[in-house]
């Protein structure tokens, strides 16, 4: 409930505020968003498995975002930014797909 409410609030604020993203953050923002999406879907899966814990969610959210950002940052430092970005996106995409399929099994099983 809180999650859905928060999502709606965030989207509405984002639509109306239209902020200027600082140049430093710009390359990392899409990665952050994808990582956070992964965390959100993991939380949804845990919710359906009746093992959701908001503490775990918060920690996994932050860990996902920070790890992804750091990885891309490292890649930029080493000159393989775009490749590493692709790698992160691929891994997160796979995780998102597996989470979604788990959720689908929970929804359509019973």
């Amino acid at each position: 409930m809180a999650a859905v409410l928060g999502l709606i609030i965030g989207v509405v604020v984002g639509v109306f505020v239209r902020p200027d993203i600082p140049v430093v953050v710009q390359p990392y923002l899409p990665i952050m968003v994808v990582a956070a999406l992964d965390a959100l879907l993991g939380a949804a899966r845990a919710y359906f498995e009746r093992s959701f814990s908001d503490r775990v969610f918060v920690i996994s959210f932050l860990a996902n975002v920070i790890t992804a950002t750091l990885l891309v940052f490292l890649g930029n430092q080493l000159g393989v930014g775009s490749q590493l970005q692709t790698a992160v996106i691929v891994v997160l995409g796979i995780r998102i797909f597996s989470n979604v399929s788990a959720i689908r099994r929970f929804i359509f099983r019973g």
Partner: protein, 273 residues
């Protein structure tokens, strides 16, 4: 009775003694507080306060996600920062080729435009010339009615001799030499193929019988035309002397010659381009 009360008293005494013994036999001394086993901390153990805090945190994070998502959507235009050098070079090359293509196209189109413009000009010119030609040739061939400055020559019936075709022809030729542009004899428009021949009681001009008095209308410079007729020893004098006819030359600023004739179709002659 007394014995009975004694034995009751005895029983009670024993009972009390036993209870006292039990209390004294207790092992717990109170100096060692019982330490219970620490219960496993349950992740889902919530007090009301921590539940509120954590759901606020979840909400905040989801809001952050939505906000970042929308900002990223609004900001997808400037993604060049994330491209590497090769891609940037490729993009630059692509735009350069596109620019040169567009320039080429532009020059093509502008040359096309220029040629079209000049063609339009030429066409306009040709149209103007054609219109002029049409007017001129229309006047010459007698297809169009004409008006302008000129003279009207009126010749009465000859008293000493009949006004014949040759003197009329001379008159027309004189007027032509003097620069008459359009002429008409009575009701006949004079064109290149006009002929005059004698007939009973008059003349035949282009198949039409005309009778005196003859009226020759000519458009041209009135001064020169009247000079051509009135010149000493000229056509006018001949008419008066030889034929005894009266010749009246009237200059006018507005001679209207509305006799027209059909344009002839040339059967054999073709224009040379």
């Amino acid at each position: 009775m007394a014995h009975r009360s004694r034995s009751d008293n005895m029983l009670e005494k024993l009972h009390n003694q036993h209870a006292q013994d039990k209390v004294n036999d207790r092992m717990e001394t109170g100096s060692f507080p019982k330490v219970r086993k620490k219960p496993r901390r349950d992740l889902n153990r919530h007090t009301n306060r921590s539940r509120l805090i954590s759901s606020i945190l979840v909400m905040f994070m989801c809001a952050l996600l939505g906000f970042a998502y929308m900002s990223q959507i609004n900001n997808t235009k400037s993604t060049y920062e994330t491209l590497d050098e090769n891609e940037l070079v490729r993009l630059l090359n692509e735009s350069n080729t596109q620019i040169s293509n567009l320039e080429q196209r532009k020059s093509q189109l502008s040359s096309q435009l220029n040629s079209l413009k000049s063609a339009a000009n030429e066409q306009e010119q040709a149209r103007k010339i054609a219109k002029q030609n049409e007017e001129t040739s229309g006047l010459i061939s007698g297809r169009l009615a004409a008006r302008g400055r000129g003279v009207t020559v009126t010749i009465s019936k000859g008293t000493s001799a009949k006004v014949d075709a040759s003197i009329m022809f001379n008159l027309i030729e004189e007027l032509r030499n003097a620069g008459a542009e359009v002429m008409a004899v009575n009701t006949v428009r004079v064109v290149a193929s006009t002929y005059i021949q004698d007939a009973d009681g008059g003349l035949v001009c282009d198949g039409i019988t005309i009778e005196p008095p003859y009226t020759v209308k000519a458009i041209g410079n009135p001064q020169e035309l009247s000079n051509a007729v009135d010149i000493a020893g000229g056509v006018g004098a001949q008419l008066q002397v030889k034929y005894g006819a009266t010749v009246d030359v009237q200059s006018s600023d507005n001679i209207i010659i509305d006799e027209v004739r059909e344009a002839t179709q040339n059967k054999y002659a073709k224009t040379v381009e």
